[in-house]
Amino acid sequence: MRKVLVLAVMVVAIAGLQRNALASDWNMPVGVTEISRSVYSLHMLIFWICVVIGVVVFGAMFYSLFRYRRSKGAKAAHFHEHTTVEVFWTTIPLLILVAMAVPATATLKEMYDTSESDLDVLITGHQWRWQYEYLGEGVSFFSNLSTPSAQIEGEAPKDEHYLLEVDQPLVLPVDRKVRFLTTSADVIHSWWVPAFAVKKDAMPGFINEAWTRIEEPGIYRGQCAELCGRNHGFMPVVVHAMEQDDFDAWLAERKQQAASAANSVDREWKMDELMAQGEKVYSTICAACHQAEGQGLPPTFPALAGNQALMDDLEKHIGVVLNGVSETAMPAFSGTLNPVDIAAVITYERNAWGNETGDVIQPSDIQARLSSE
């Protein structure tokens, strides 16, 4: 019985190891940056060192267990120390570790060298989405999970990139040193893309740095790695790496969009336009906490549907959306959403799910509030 089990475990282990070597989805990805390749080789080096030590140590152990069974008539010896042997087996691991520390130190120093970047991106963690801001370019946007809730709830078949897809990925040029500055608007998050070997915590009130130089165009996926509340599992990172020319074109288009959005602030918006836009904004930004039907998750996330106190006080409603509520999960949207989206979502919240205030909030109103004059 026991022998069969031991044999079975060994077969499974060896089979696992072989598949391990072949299939990359069992192992750390090699990645697409110089750093990620160094990290991968460090990982494999220490892994094989552990395997060798394991084979020697467990080999000695199983040999002893097999050879010195009492059932086979083994008689116990009575030695209980041997200083030379002990010094030997203390020194060997020490030397191995020193040998390990040298390449690890070199890689770490490389990772910490954030100087002379070509592009700086400020990454802000929010509960539960990422905000990317191209410093000095005036381009900033949210990146939300785009997997429909029907797939999460099991009512629809799941896509290939289930939970690892977003509405707007971070777009980066290849072969450029990109510096990431991470921070957070609320709790601690951690921005992680395995293919770059970049993982950096986003701390409220503090700035952290990391960098990468992507070598291959493509789409790279990661996730938030630090528990950040309810939807921690639902804030993926998607990076779309492209050639410099494509990136420049993309950035220009982005700036164009921002400009035209600014223009549309001044015109008079109709109720149904605002409701349509508001529903879109609500479902990507607000629904994670306040829920699809505005029912909220009390006590942490108050209901919006039938929230009479809020519906009676338009000023307060606008104030909360613009400025957030301190010491709660409600963030300020004045700096992160444009006036059209803010006006639309407030209009939507005041006229959906049985809230029938009839209020129409114009983007120009919001714009006026945000300007100092």
Binding site: H80, E81, V87
Partner: protein, 57 residues
Amino acid sequence: MWQVIKSVLAAFFGVQKDSRRRSDFEHGKPIVFIATGVVMALIMVGLVVSVAMMAAG
């Protein structure tokens, strides 16, 4: 004192001869060993810090 330091070093290394520790425990005062241990720990921390600073360049 040198004996104490040697014994504590052996403790850090994790290897000690039986005869050696016998004499430690028969002649030494525990407080001396603990104090030396703490001091040596601090020295070791200092040592590793300086190695780290050197490595960081």
